[in-house]
């Protein structure tokens, strides 16, 4: 006899819960592991919050959100030059990823044979798995020189937001196209057959029946793609240029929010300086923008996602 249990002694079967210390300990360990994700979020919110708070006490939120100059040396901390560059690169990224991603998705979901689809999808996955620093190299060492030879070296700078944006579009293309394809494939066959029965051509079925039916999924994909573009760092750090500058010309260099954080934190920076804290204020803006976009994307799916039987 290894152990004696109460019910073993009495010889009766007890249905009461027995105390199991090991089970309880494991249970506790598992729940703590799950709570680590909450701690991570808490850590992000608290660190960004406290450091930004210190920053806003010195600079003032109005100047931060109102000024068009970011020149820490003379104490100018207006986020617009950085934010504007982020918008520019994201705009060109979406200009590539949105139409191209949708077209690839329509081709894969509606036109391609099973065999073609099974070969192409892994290729797009490979494209999605390449590290972003490699795309940064591609933008700086290949795309920019190509654009400069095409459009003239006076027009296109060595660093510019245009080629950074284009390459960023290529980066998020696989994400957008695979999410779009999932959305299109989820549209039931009966809807297509109904349209064919009415005499619609394949294109009419795809663009006037399937795409509208999958619209919420497509919108969610685009918003998620935009969120990726806003948070993308290495491409802009390498190819978009160093030095915050408010410009609407996409062929000029301009530093994005992420690019600025990487450049400044990569150098020698002393903690507890205003420069150090300003990075957390930028990161806070970045965090809030991407969080809003991600939540919006998920809400669209949750609220407007058509559920077909």
């Amino acid at each position: 006899m290894h152990e004696t249990f109460p019910d073993a002694r009495t010889g009766r079967l007890s249905l009461a819960k027995r105390a199991r210390p090991v089970e309880a300990a494991i249970r506790g360990l598992l729940s703590v592991s799950a709570a680590i994700s909450v701690l991570t979020t808490l850590g992000i919110v608290v660190t960004l919050g406290t450091e930004s708070w210190g920053f806003f006490r010195e600079v003032g939120i109005l100047e931060f959100l109102g000024s068009l100059e970011w020149q820490p040396v003379i104490g100018d901390f207006g986020i617009w030059p950085l934010f504007n560059a982020t918008l520019t690169t994201s705009f060109f990224a979406m200009l590539v990823a949105l139409p191209l991603g949708l077209m690839v998705a329509i081709y894969l979901a509606e036109y391609a044979s099973d065999r073609v689809r099974e070969t192409l999808k892994p290729v797009l996955e490979v494209l999605a798995g390449i590290p972003t620093v490699v795309y940064g190299y591609f933008a700086l060492a290949t795309v920019t020189p190509f654009l400069r030879s095409l459009l003239g070296t006076e027009l296109v700078g060595v660093y510019n937001t245009f080629s950074a944006g284009i390459v960023m579009g290529i980066l998020i293309l696989p994400l957008v196209s695979s999410m779009c394809e999932d959305a299109l494939s989820a549209v039931p066959r009966s809807l297509r057959e109904g349209a064919y029965a009415m005499g619609a051509t394949k294109l009419e079925v795809a663009t006037q029946v399937v795409v509208p039916a999958a619209f919420s999924g497509l919108a969610a994909a685009f918003i998620l793609g935009l969120s990726r573009a806003v948070g993308e760092t290495m491409i802009v750090a390498l190819a978009a240029g160093a030095g915050p500058k408010f410009t609407l010309n996409p062929f000029e260099p301009a530093e994005t929010m992420t690019g600025h954080i990487v450049r400044i934190s990569g150098g020698d920076i002393s903690y507890d300086s205003i420069d150090y804290r300003s990075l957390f204020a930028i990161a806070l803006v970045l965090f809030l923008v991407t969080l809003a976009l991600n939540s919006l994307s998920r809400r669209i799916v949750a609220k407007h996602g058509e559920v077909y039987e």
Binding site: E23, L30, A34, S37, L48, Y111, V133, L203, T207
Partner: protein, 424 residues
């Protein structure tokens, strides 16, 4: 209404004008079908262009000049043919006495390995210097142009075909000149970092997924955890870098620098900007991905398998350990490896956490300063010199091969585990 009616009337006339625009509509459809296919082909071509541009820069002709003509050291300039004693003589005959003494103090010349001596003669006596590099396309397709350019600009230089990825590149550390620089410390740094990431994120991620799928009741707290994990998966990686900088590098400095364990192995003072900090930061980054993936794997385990365990009196943990985990472990493991192989390519968070910009020594422990392959690629790409772009391309090839082999390993592992699986 009337238009539709009249169209219906024409269609029904039965004189062949049924669907009058049919030809036009079909032509339109064909044009767009071609456009959709073209977009897809374009996406694939871009991948090709990306790979081609990297290969194009990683190999090619290099024009080099020397300070001492190798032909004066060995017949035909082939120093490989010299004996060890002749190599030592070449060093002693050409180097300044101060440099010779310094080398002798490191290790006497006579006791050095042959490869070491060869490298010394190449570096210090001949002193190869890159004056011009050419891409693979230029080297193969425009050889005449290259030769004409060389004759005009650098008539003295020697033109050799060089693979920038070579044994020496893999075996040597960072250097101020591109031709001597290598990825050794970065490669070791990457592997150490990723081991820490895997060792922390894997158990925690699986434990969290077990909690959420097997234990958690559907209450507000657990719903919050679920939503939170999805939100974390969408946070830009650079934000994780900021978190790592604030938490691991600064707040937990005594632990991450090793001071708390009395193990400050690194006298250069990494101050918390260590491999440990980098690995933990990446662990937080991949954790949501590992959790979500493991949750999906657990969800795919049929309910009946669990019930059969309960039916024979197993406790909850026994069911998880003996039934759910063995039945899903292939998917859990491969998902985790794929997530970690993505983390290998992460650059931005590690720059923020404080990767060293110029590290010539290999890391000795987890409390050492660090650099990783993507960091090297970033720094070399950011330099204006052409030859640094060549070694950046070479480092990219090393990185891609590393990631591909990890993915291949994951696939092989999955197939092995599948074959051994007790439950289908």
């Amino acid at each position: 209404m009337s238009a539709a009616k009249s169209r219906a009337a024409t269609d029904a006339r039965g004189d062949g004008s049924f669907l009058p625009n049919l030809g036009k509509r079909q032509a339109y459809g064909r044009r767009w079908a071609a456009a959709f296919a073209a977009a897809t082909i374009a996406a694939v071509l871009v991948l090709g262009a990306l790979v081609a541009s990297i290969v194009n820069d990683a190999f090619g002709l290099v024009a080099m000049e020397y300070t001492v003509d190798p032909a004066t050291l060995a017949p035909g300039g082939d120093i490989e043919k010299l004996s060890d004693a002749e190599l030592v003589a070449a060093l002693e005959g050409n180097l300044k006495s101060r440099r010779l003494r310094a080398l002798g103090n490191e290790k006497p010349l006579a006791e050095r390995e042959r490869a070491d001596l060869l490298a010394l003669v190449e570096d210090e006596v001949i002193g190869w210097e890159v004056v011009e590099t050419f891409s693979l396309a230029e080297s193969l397709l425009g050889r005449a142009k290259v030769d004409a350019f060389m004759a005009a600009e650098h008539p003295e230089a020697k033109l050799v075909f060089r693979s920038w990825v070579n044994a020496r590149f893999l075996g040597s550390s960072q250097s101020a000149t591109a031709i001597d620089a290598g990825v050794r410390s970065a490669l070791i740094g990457t592997l150490m970092t990723i081991l820490i990431t895997l060792a922390t994120a894997f158990p925690i991620g699986i434990a969290a997924a077990i909690w959420l799928e097997e234990y958690a009741k559907d209450n507000r707290w657990n719903r919050f955890i679920r939503v939170n994990i999805y939100n974390l998966a969408g946070v830009p990686s650079i934000i994780y870098g900021m978190l790592g900088l604030a938490i691991f590098v600064r707040a937990l400095e005594p632990i991450t620098s090793g001071a708390a364990f009395g193990a400050v192995a690194d006298p250069t003072g990494a101050n918390g900007r260590t491999i440990l900090s980098a690995g933990l930061t990446l662990a937080l980054l991949v954790l949501p991905v590992i959790i979500i993936n493991a949750q999906e794997a657990f969800r795919a385990v049929p309910r009946t398998l669990r019930e059969s365990g309960y039916a024979v009196g197993a406790t909850k943990w026994q069911v998880v350990w003996h039934h759910v985990l063995p039945a899903s472990f292939d998917r859990v493991l491969t998902g985790a490896i794929v997530a970690v192989s993505r983390a290998i390519g992460e650059t931005a968070p590690l720059v923020v956490v404080g990767a060293s910009t110029f590290l010539t020594q290999d890391p000795t422990s987890v409390f050492s300063k660090f650099t990783t392959l993507p960091i090297q690629i970033y720094q070399w790409t950011a330099r204006p010199q052409e030859d640094f772009h060549n070694i950046a391309a070479a480092a990219i090839l090393v990185l891609l091969v590393l990631m591909l082999s990890l993915n291949a390993f994951a696939i092989i592992l999955r197939n092995r585990l599948r074959a051994k699986k007790r439950f289908a």
